[in-house]
């Protein structure tokens, strides 16, 4: 989950008379988890579905609602203008078809604001922008740009001075020699033509979705901003723009519209949408009995607008709240506005009778039998390694099921057997007193259609006098006592066991597993100094399906 750093004193300036304690106690009720606190600074985790919480300005809007300082939806006041036009050329359709933008004037930009805007931009890129693939933002100094702009494409030998550089680079250079180029270049694939925004003086403004030009860099001297968003879907670029527009207006900028034409592009509307709900659904879902007035007031506290229309409530949702899909999302907004802390848990009697799964019951019974026989229960990972499963026990790795890109070397292969892991357990306990007797029941995996998962049962005994007879007696007693099954063993050969001291295990004439004295090479591999005997059988098909 993304994290944003907030300053209590700045939030207090934005909110008015609210104490630090009130703020810190209320943040979780906006869905913000406090990660760490250090004097005036607090770091909170926010949900990726609320990109407006990527700045303190957006969080302040939410807190205003909870504290009742300001409620209802934030309205975007966008001055109509025809001065800021972007013409879109047909060539972008194949590579990054949509652009949108807005002008923000007369704001005050200090270092803190720049930092917050940059952090917001990064979070938007990562989250709803899907690492800039779906949509990406460029924020520019308006006064360095001559309108109208052209959103077009260019070849990879096109040159301009990119952000944070003092000399011209070609598109190809940028893609190979800069961090952003390397990180996001793949979005453009092998296309010969790449997207570009030029101004009326043929000056490069931006190379989306990679980097802006150096000329339009925003500094603390910047007064007016131009924000552009490009992407592969018209709704997505406008969603992203609405978040930025809302935050900039909250920061004190005056918004002015842009005029966008060409290649199926149109000017952004950033309009709110309306959803109709009835109080019945809300009360039924929350288990409350709220009046329509209470519901409307709760929605307003969640910074939405609502009014009564006949028996229904019409809810108006500002464009930046595109996380709201339908009535159930409004149920949540009501619960947040009403206050989760005001919901009293209730325990209704169950209409159903509970039942433990028969498999769980049988495994439990087998466990208790093994405990009675003096065996301690072990617990190992199903996802383990080639070393443990095969190399240390000289088993042949055939039909392994492996996972992709594991972050841990010890967890790369799904186990097809439990016994190797129990042997590994013994190797980690060689300085603990003997006898050591372990068992485990659990899932093992094998290639199938697509994969078969069965329950396996393995046991192991290690001490100076461990013998085949001992382990056969144990397995025989466990199956007889637990499930009234008679066990037979037949001479067999298996690489995990010593030749001549290996048998297959049969119940009702069917082979269900293996048993024997562990191969001396394996014991040596693990530096175990006592003889080890063990067995492994499949329970699936034996005591349950």
């Amino acid at each position: 989950m993304p994290v944003v750093e907030l300053s209590y004193s700045r939030l207090q300036k934005l909110l008015g008379k609210v104490s630090k304690k009130q703020i810190s106690e209320s943040l979780p009720f906006l869905g913000l988890d406090i990660e760490s606190e250090d004097k005036d600074l607090v770091r909170v985790e926010y949900s990726p579905n609320r990109p407006d919480y990527s700045t303190d300005l957006g969080i302040a809007l939410g807190l205003q609602g909870l504290f009742g300082i300001r409620s209802g939806a934030v309205k975007l006041n966008i001055k109509k203008s025809t001065d800021y036009a972007i013409n879109v050329e047909q060539s972008v359709a194949k590579i990054r078809p949509f652009v949108t933008g807005i002008i923000a004037k007369n704001g005050r930009i200090d270092d803190y604001t720049i930092k917050q805007l940059m952090a917001m931009q990064e979070d938007l890129h990562f989250g709803i922008g899907r690492k800039r693939k779906k949509s990406s933002i460029g924020i520019h100094d308006l006064d360095k740009i001559s309108f109208p702009l052209t959103y077009t494409t260019t070849k990879r030998d096109h040159k301009f001075i990119p952000l944070n550089s003092d000399h011209e680079l070609t598109i190809s250079d940028i893609l190979v020699n800069t961090d952003v180029g390397r990180d996001y270049g793949a979005i453009l694939g092998n296309s010969l033509q790449v997207p570009l925004i030029l101004d009326s003086k043929k000056q490069t403004i931006s190379f989306p979705p990679i980097i802006n030009a150096a000329t339009t860099t925003v500094t603390t001297k910047t007064k007016n901003l131009f924000v552009e968003v490009t992407g592969i879907n018209k709704d997505d670029v406008e969603d992203m723009l609405s978040v930025v527009a809302t935050i900039l207006q909250t920061a004190g900028f005056t918004l002015v519209s842009t005029k966008i034409t060409g290649a199926k592009n149109t000017s952004p509307k950033l309009e709110s949408k309306k959803i109709l709900i009835n109080s019945g659904l809300i009360n039924q879902m929350l288990g409350l009995n709220l009046t329509t007035t209470q519901i409307i007031s709760s929605l307003k506290k969640s910074r939405l607008d609502a009014s009564l229309k006949g028996k229904n409530i019409v809810c108006t949702i500002p464009s930046y709240r595109f996380d709201i899909f339908g009535p159930m999302d409004l149920v949540e907004e009501v619960s947040l506005g009403y206050g989760i802390q005001n919901l009293e848990p209730i325990l209704s009697p169950s209409q159903t009778l509970g039942q433990t799964n028969p498999i769980s019951i049988k495994l439990k019974s087998l466990s208790l039998t093994m405990i009675g026989l003096g065996y301690t229960e072990a617990l190992n990972s199903s996802l383990t390694s080639k070393r443990v499963l095969y190399e240390m026990t000289n088993r042949k790795p055939i039909n392994m099921i492996s996972v992709l890109d594991s972050k841990s070397q010890e967890h790369t292969i799904l186990r097809d057997s439990i016994l190797p892991e129990l042997l590994e357990n013994l190797s980690r306990n060689i300085h603990t007193s003997y006898p050591q007797k372990l068992f485990e029941t659990g899932t093992v995996f094998s290639q199938g259609n697509p994969i078969s998962e069965t329950t396996s049962f393995a046991g192991i005994s290690a001490h100076q006098d461990a013998t085949f007879t001992e382990i056969k007696s144990i397995l025989q007693s466990a199956l007889k006592t637990g499930f009234n099954l008679d066990t037979e063993t037949k001479t067999f050969s298996h690489s995990i066991f010593e030749e001549g001291r290996t048998a297959s295990v049969l119940v009702n004439g069917k082979i269900i597993g293996i048993i024997g004295e562990i191969n001396s090479k394996t014991i040596e591999n693990y530096k175990i100094r006592v003889p080890v005997v063990g067995f492994e059988i499949s329970l699936s098909g034996l005591i349950f399906d």
């Binding site: 879902m285 149920v331 949540e332 209730i346 509970g354 967890h411 357990n425 995996f445 697509p450 994969i451």
Partner: protein
């Protein structure tokens, strides 16, 4: 202090009363016990402060090859004197008869004024009955003799001759009784009494795994709350793990770096034609992207057990139900004291026309109460497949802070509607290791899977 003695101890004490200082070997003979019994008996008595063990070393002497030859046939100088006993002899004749030892023997005889020379003949001047060194030689003979019993002056005459005398250092123990022990009255025969106060060795009970105990406890709580347990596969197609739960295909949780994909394995059948059609339509409409069925067929290790319950609900479409699923789930994480790649999760649902968010909170509160957690609160949160969504925070007295436990919510219509589920579904779930860590007071979650026998043998059964 207890005055009960083992038979071995009794025999040693009695023997030492007669003969106050003995080596272990001597004790073996006097008590007719085995070396091992003597060793153990001495250890016990030492621990009880009834016996003193003095360790000392003795130097013994024995004869080497040349020493033994001289013992049997006489010293070279003795041989020389014997040859001259009856007559004087020529030097060359003596040389021939005595061989290589003639030189040193002649030197000694001259130095001690036993012989003299006249013209070319050597004659006896003096014939002592015992030559220097002969006493020592006789004393040692073929035995080993403590050096302390030997006349050091006499020894010095032969000590430096090559291969004559061998010195050995032998370490010995001498056992005697302490003053306390001397006054102990040992009654002969066995009274049958044993030392009931002495410490005994630990034995270890075989036991179920502590984490399994917690799992069983949780299972039982939900069964008694009216829930039925269902079991499902750990390997799942993305379709049930993600798509059916309204998680878009380009969501970061679906990336390789968070989820384990099985190498080269895709499911053949993932759901009914209708399920696939409706779920893909919901995704396209809500998330505006190209929904790829091949992506949905990829097999993953389940990231939660919710895939098991949602599939169960899609297949059974109950109007009224309480089910739960309990089992292993997987995340592609770096293993650390707080993260495992594989852990256990409990996850349950309530289906019912009157199911409400407050009921969901009530079930959580009751569950926590039954595992002994009473200080809880609820905070809003976000999950892709529930709306509203909450998380439980519980107060950990040991850490003195609130920690996050189960997440919960009401399944979104985007989840239930495409699968034909018409009644509200309350859902919750969370990791079991976290609860077990609270119960066992562990700070490192890896402990549960290390199978460290000392821990398994010592963890208390009741927490």
């Amino acid at each position: 202090m207890s005055q009960v003695f083992h038979e071995i101890e009794k025999k040693i004490i009695i023997s030492l009363k007669d003969n106050t200082k003995q080596t272990p070997e001597q004790l073996e003979k006097s008590t007719h016990l085995s070396p091992d019994q003597i060793r153990r008996g001495i250890e016990w008595l030492k621990l009880k402060e009834l016996a003193i063990v003095n360790e000392s070393q003795i130097i013994t002497l024995s004869l080497g090859k040349n020493g033994l030859e001289s013992f049997h046939k006489g010293l070279p100088e003795r041989k020389l004197l014997d040859l001259l006993k009856n007559e004087s002899k020529k030097l060359s004749d003596l040389q021939r008869e005595l061989g290589t030892v003639f030189g040193p023997a002649m030197g000694l005889a001259r130095k001690n004024n036993w012989v003299d020379t006249s013209e070319d003949k050597i004659f006896l001047k003096n014939h002592p009955s015992e030559l220097p060194g002969e006493k020592t030689l006789k004393q040692i003979g073929e035995n080993k003799i403590p050096k302390s019993e030997i006349d050091i002056d006499d020894l010095s005459n032969i000590l430096k001759r090559p291969d004559f005398v061998i010195e050995d250092i032998i370490k010995t123990k001498e056992i005697s009784l302490t003053e306390n022990a001397k006054s102990i009255e040992i009654t002969a025969g066995s009274s049958g009494a044993i030392d009931v106060e002495s410490k005994v060795p630990d034995v270890f009970v075989a036991r179920t795994h502590p984490l399994k105990d917690t799992i069983d406890e949780i299972r039982e709580i939900f069964v008694t709350l009216g829930f039925t347990e269902i079991i499902g596969n750990m390997t799942q197609p993305c379709f049930w793990n993600f798509d059916a739960l309204f998680t878009p295909q380009d969501h970061s949780a679906r990336e390789l770096q968070d989820t384990f994909y099985l190498d080269g394995i895709s499911a053949k059948n993932i759901g009914t034609i209708e399920q696939i059609k409706k779920i893909s339509e919901t995704h396209k409409k809500s998330w505006r992207y190209y929904w790829d069925i091949n992506e949905a067929k990829k097999m993953v290790l389940r990231t939660h057990t919710t895939c098991v319950t949602i599939k169960h609900l899609a297949e059974n479409k109950p109007d009224e139900a309480r089910v739960f699923s309990l089992g292993r789930v997987f995340r592609n994480e770096k293993v650390s004291y707080k993260h495992l790649v594989e852990f256990n999760q409990i996850e349950g649902v309530v289906v019912g026309k009157n199911a409400t968010l407050r009921d969901l909170m009530g079930i959580q509160r009751e569950f926590y109460k039954r595992i002994g957690i009473t200080k809880i609160k609820f905070w809003p949160t976000f999950f892709p497949y529930t709306e509203p969504s909450l998380q439980t925070m519980v107060y950990n007295d040991r850490l003195e802070k609130w920690v996050e436990l189960f997440g919960m919510g009401i399944f979104r219509p985007e989840v239930t509607k495409p699968l034909g589920i018409t009644k509200p579904v309350l859902a919750w779930g969370g990791g079991i290791e976290r609860i077990a860590m609270l119960k066992y007071g562990l700070d490192d979650v890896r402990e549960f899977y290390s199978n460290n026998l000392s821990w398994l043998r010592s963890a208390r059964k009741c927490q």
